[in-house]
């Protein structure tokens, strides 16, 4: 190889590297969850509006359900709210709200204002359960299968498309994809 070509080749490689970086940069902020394919983390939380009643992961074994982390301070949750409402009304699967780092009064006011689509809401006051779920943004949703395994995770708002391509096929028994949204787009 002509030695005068070396800088050109190095430059070309750099350009390729930067282009690849640009292409994946919008996916890099979404972290693949290490929890996919693992059992849902243990939790034992009071029911919003009825703190004497507590529910754990064992309460939900045996059916598909969606865990949706939300909070009254979360703006994107408002954007997601109509989608969650449609999903819950379609009766595809139970939608369990995990209200985290939030005051129960604020949460109740939020639900009263926007409507309460959730089959049940649990209160994760100090966010300890959200840490076990590896939640770092809101909203985040986890699809749990009847065996109690997390099969899909969505960081950020769910959309009707994601429900149709990622959630419905799994619940109806035709699994596709590998559980991470970012690999699907």
């Amino acid at each position: 190889m002509n030695s005068r070509m070396v800088p050109l080749v190095v430059f070309g490689l750099l350009v390729v590297l930067l282009l690849v970086g640009l292409k994946i940069s919008d996916r890099k902020t979404l972290l693949p969850s290490p929890l996919i394919g693992k059992p849902v983390p243990a939790f034992d939380l009071p029911v919003l509006g009825n703190p004497e009643q507590r529910m754990s992961r064992e309460s939900f074994l045996g059916k598909y359900y969606l865990v949706n982390f939300w909070a009254s301070w979360c703006v994107t949750c408002r954007v997601e709210h109509p989608v969650i409402t449609d999903l819950a009304e379609s009766k595809l699967l139970p939608v369990i709200g995990f209200n985290f780092r939030d005051q129960p009064e604020d949460a109740k006011a939020w639900l009263q204002h926007f409507g309460d689509p959730y089959d049940i809401n649990l209160t994760d006051l100090d966010g300890r359960t959200s840490i076990d779920f590896g939640v770092y943004a809101a909203p985040e949703s986890f699809l749990v299968d009847p065996a109690g395994m997390i099969v899909f995770k969505q960081i950020g708002a769910l959309t009707p498309e994601i429900i149709e391509t990622e959630i419905r096929p799994r619940v109806m028994g035709a699994p596709s994809g590998n559980g991470n949204t970012e690999s699907g787009n």
């Binding site: 070396v6 972290l31 840490i131 076990d132 590896g134 770092y136 943004a137």
Partner: protein, 135 residues
């Protein structure tokens, strides 16, 4: 002197970003500082746990602190976070199949440089040799 004053203000401010935690020993405090500096805050992804003021970073610092108190090792504490947030929380990536290239890249670049250097030296000595011959 002015610089010193400014510096102490900055230091004081950054000290306030951390809640006052009481440690059993200097050694434990050092471990806490080291861990929170090596662990990434997943909310503000270019800050570590020690520097971040995000509520999640605050809670994770508390978790690290609590685990130190219960006698967990550094490795166990890192595992706790990796299990939840993935390898991304580690500022120091582990050596494993998907990071071999990352860890070996400096060595490869060094070898590449050595190769370029060697061929340059060869060429120059050849040229000098020619000069000597013609002179």
């Amino acid at each position: 002197m002015k610089l010193f004053g400014l510096l102490s203000i900055f230091l004081a401010v950054s000290a306030f970003a951390q809640e006052p935690l009481v440690f059993e020993s200097q050694q434990q405090q050092d471990r806490f500082n080291q861990l929170t500096q090596e662990l990434r805050c997943v909310v503000c992804q270019n800050q570590n746990l020690a520097d971040s003021d995000a509520p999640l970073a605050h809670d994770l610092r508390d978790e690290v602190y609590a685990m130190l108190q219960t006698g967990k090792s550094n490795e166990e504490i890192k595992q706790f976070l990796v299990q939840r947030y993935g390898d991304f929380v580690l500022y120091r990536p582990p050596v494993q199949t998907n990071t071999y290239l990352l860890w070996l890249a400096p060595l490869l670049i060094l070898l590449g440089g050595a190769w370029v250097l060697r061929s340059n030296i060869k060429k120059r000595t050849a040229l000098l040799g020619d000069d000597n011959n013609t002179a």
